[in-house]
Symmetry: C2
Subunit: 555 residues, 2 copies
């Protein structure tokens, strides 16, 4: 029989609580800076005091253990304060997705039973409009009120609230399985689903990400001495959990407010930021910003996730001196599961000590675009429909399924979807992937984005990557359309590149792809027999390609 730890007179296991992440930075880095937009800066000692004041203020508004406190804000020091103060009280932090429709925001606030809302002045009008339909919502606190905002009907302004409260809030100790955060997954199908994470899960995720990102040999790292700036919204899966990691390490942190490419580049230069993370769209936006031409990007390490990073984008970033590398996760996984790192130096040197003007080889670019290697404690399998492991040959594809101590338990209030998520004891990502002998995982496609033609699978992601290399193509999305004979066939929806000698024709694209058929990269049956030209591709609230909308449009 298992012998459980039980020592009479001794002490039970210490619970893993989010507040304990503050222990080391307060002891070692109390004078380290936290910066908001370059307009406001304070130290970790002040952060800790403001966390106490915020908790005192929320308690005065009736927030107790189990209360949901929602936040609608751009990336800010205030959001960081809420990341700690709300869970540390035993309350639940709801991070509201700012890119949802008003109706969806109302629906999620209602579902989460939010009682207090901290809302940036930019969203105050919306909040005031919704509050009448949200009977549980008792208080609204305004963040950063612009001149002329009428404070009538709100509980007050954030800074005024903090100013009159004590920093000595008596944070309690409680069960580590207490819910700390909740938010709603968007994705391209169905209505938003609620996931939540416990203190234990957030602490373990923080330690797992720290272990993965601190330990690489040739760059792609986050360590003491780095300066951190998130470029993934803080409402999106805790900004991938990195604010907790940066705080635990006691790093200088820079919060950019609402994203604006030129302002981000200026802020990055002024505050000497060395580490950020973002989706490919944001990286592309930074590299194409008006001020990008005159910007020195070297010394910036950027994790790219959310969707696949193309080799073209990686090459562009590397050429500018960015140590760019892929990572992977999802809302349900807290989110980190995989992070890329170089296992060896490329011929011309790589990583931290690469000379700025050194050429990066194609092999290394391809390696950096692989989705990554599993984090510590992540049990990762790629399986067929009978849950058998596929060969680790870098080619055979299957569904990526995972276990790890920080994965969501399921969808709140949706037992059927929860059971489906966790079928056979593994969390099903619904992403189709391969794994190579070195352990690198490559996400090939969303399960639903694979195209089944004549009984064979075609990867829309791979087709997109290849079509995007055509000089006449600015952006492309490949979707499945119904076909009488083959079941499904690929359709390429293309945004032409302006000034590239006219939009590409189907023949142009076919001729371009023929070389890849000849090289054996794709099978002949993967060649699209139809293209559509559009001005822009539809995107979801978090900037991902909205294939659901495309599929509705082209049948």
């Amino acid at each position: 029989m298992i012998r459980l730890l039980d020592v009479p007179g001794g002490r039970a296991a210490e619970p893993l609580l989010v507040g304990k992440l503050l222990r080391t930075p307060l002891a070692v880095s109390p004078a380290q800076e936290i910066v908001y937009r370059g307009e406001l800066r304070y130290d970790y000692r002040t952060l800790r005091q403001r966390i106490g004041r915020l908790a005192s203020g929320l308690a005065r508004l009736g927030v107790a253990e189990g209360t949901t406190v929602a936040v609608m804000d751009w990336d800010s020091h205030r959001y960081l304060e809420a990341y700690f103060a709300v869970p540390m009280m035993g309350a639940v932090l709801m991070t509201v997705n700012l890119r949802l429709s008003a109706a969806q925001i109302r629906e999620t606030l209602d579902h989460a039973q939010a009682e207090v809302l901290l809302v940036h002045a930019d969203f105050l009008e919306l909040a005031m409009r919704l509050r009448g339909t949200l009977p549980r919502l008792r208080h609204i606190v305004v963040l950063e009120p612009a001149a002329g905002v009428d404070p009538a009907g709100v509980a007050g302004e954030y800074e005024a609230l903090l100013a009159r409260e004590t920093a000595d809030f008596p944070f309690p100790e409680f069960d580590e399985n207490a819910v700390a955060t909740t938010f709603y997954t968007t994705g391209t199908t169905g209505s938003p689903k609620a996931v939540c994470f416990s203190h234990r899960q957030l602490v373990l995720h923080t330690l797992g990400v720290l272990g993965a990102l601190a330990s690489p040999q040739f760059g792609q790292s986050v360590r003491h001495g780095d300066v951190y700036m998130p470029l993934t919204p803080m409402f999106h899966v805790h900004a991938w959990g990195l604010p907790y990691v940066a705080t635990l390490l006691g790093l200088k942190q820079v919060y950019p407010g609402r994203y604006d490419a030129d302002r981000i580049l200026a802020l990055r230069r002024r505050e000497q930021v060395t580490y950020s993370h973002c989706v490919p769209t944001i990286l592309q936006m930074l590299l194409s910003a008006p001020s990008a031409a005159n910007t020195d990007f070297s010394g910036w390490k950027i994790t790219v996730g959310g969707s696949a990073m193309s080799t073209a984008l990686a090459r562009q970033a590397l050429d500018r001196g960015i140590d760019v590398f892929a990572a992977y996760g999802m809302s349900e996984t807290c989110p980190f599961l995989l992070a890329n790192r170089l296992l060896q130096r490329s011929g011309s040197g790589s990583g931290d000590d690469r000379p700025a003007d050194d050429e990066v080889g194609n092999d290394e670019v391809a390696t950096r675009c692989l989705t990554g290697l599993p984090l510590p404690l992540v049990d990762l399998r790629i399986v067929d429909e009978q849950m058998n492991d596929v060969p680790h040959d870098g080619r055979t594809v299957g569904e990526l399924v995972v276990r790890a101590p920080w994965l969501t338990a399921g969808y709140v209030g949706d037992p059927a979807a929860s059971a489906q998520l966790w079928a056979d004891g593994y969390l099903h990502t619904r992403d189709i992937a391969s794994i190579d002998p070195a352990g690198y995982v490559q996400i090939r496609d969303r399960a639903k984005d694979m195209i089944k033609s004549g009984g064979e699978w075609i990867s829309s992601l791979q087709l997109e990557e290849l079509i995007a290399r055509h000089p006449g193509v600015a952006e492309v999305a490949v979707i499945a359309v119904q076909d009488q004979r083959w079941g499904e066939r690929p359709l390429a929806v293309i945004v032409p590149r302006s000034g590239a000698g006219g939009p590409p024709t189907l023949d142009d694209i076919t001729a371009h792809l023929e070389t890849h058929v000849a090289a054996g990269t794709i099978p002949r049956y993967a060649l699209p027999d139809r293209i559509e030209l559009v001005d822009a591709l539809p995107r979801t609230s978090v900037g991902k390609l909205d294939k659901k909308a495309l599929r509705a449009q082209y049948r």
Copy 2:
């Protein structure tokens, strides 16, 4: 009321089990090497298979969940296999302290209720002698039998046992609070006390140590690409937990067998070891070995703990190119609590990128000898007798008390000692320390080694450090002796350095210390008024100075 994570249809929190540390290395580093004495090498894939075979073999000997399996071995791949296989079965690994007396070894095997003993041939005779007095001990398995060892009366030989078993042992999943390991603290007072650690504690300690040792900015690190060799015995607090960290990172690991300085240096060179950890005595032994003069020590990072590292020893190691740094912990704390790292480069460059022939400044040597900075999640306080925090001024001393998720729950079967260990909700280290404004902790002395003279404290450790700088002194221990007038007075017990112009006199020592009194480093009342010359100082089973024996001898 706290809202607990409970999602119908979903999945409960995944338990933290030691076996899960193998997930990432098996996925990413299956071909990485594990080396024993340079005589045997195999890969992680084989490690995993041998762990399965060992579990199958132990199960055949009747080992089940809750059974205690004891090991008596030098540092070896077999010990690493037992570190995983025994806990992964739900059984308890007892690491027997080889330096205890035969009577103490018998006593601890009996107390731990060991049923199976894996014993190196070097200790087989002892084991066979003891077994008649240990009715619970059912089986003895011999490790590395020398020719001529009679296998009669033993369950067999380790390799033969593994050879006939399957690698597919069905390792169960169970409560993370299950006991994984147990061993006995030695120290200089009382009889050995049993501590034990759960799976949860070992996993969290592994993540905490990884976070601390992977993230430093200027060297003092353990990361991918390092080659690991323990130089702290594997029976001593899981070799400080580093075999688990090295395995999680998928590092090449080198196990040196019984310690022999010249063989260790040859092995280190041949296997290109980059990271080790040891007590000061072992480091001194390596630097003084016959082959040391012809050895290139550069590229070796060494954590020094167990007792204080003198600036003289650190200087000697740094001059040879070793990136040497202090750390701190104890048997009760799994053991890591503090690890040193440089917060800034010294004038002449420091850490990983220091040129081999560059001089290390005195400030940096002093910094490296500070005991260190707290690990992630460690709550560390230095308190007076009323549990009030002392000022963080680098001077005021108090007792170091700690909390962290991996500290022992108490002493098995000793509720009074357990309650005393955990008085006021903190683990009492009984070490006297100061903390400076940068967060560096410096252990000044064991509480019982402080000398109270005329109502004032004198640090025996500080006196030892200063007296050791006298050219005529090879080794020194300072203890308190009773004094009618002052309560206690310091006595210096000195091993003279041969060939240094005769042994030092009390006048020599006093004159030597006067400069430090003049400089304000020590008060005048700290000057010893008696010295004793001896040939050697008494040491405990783990090589620490045995002040208990000295105090018994000199009253």
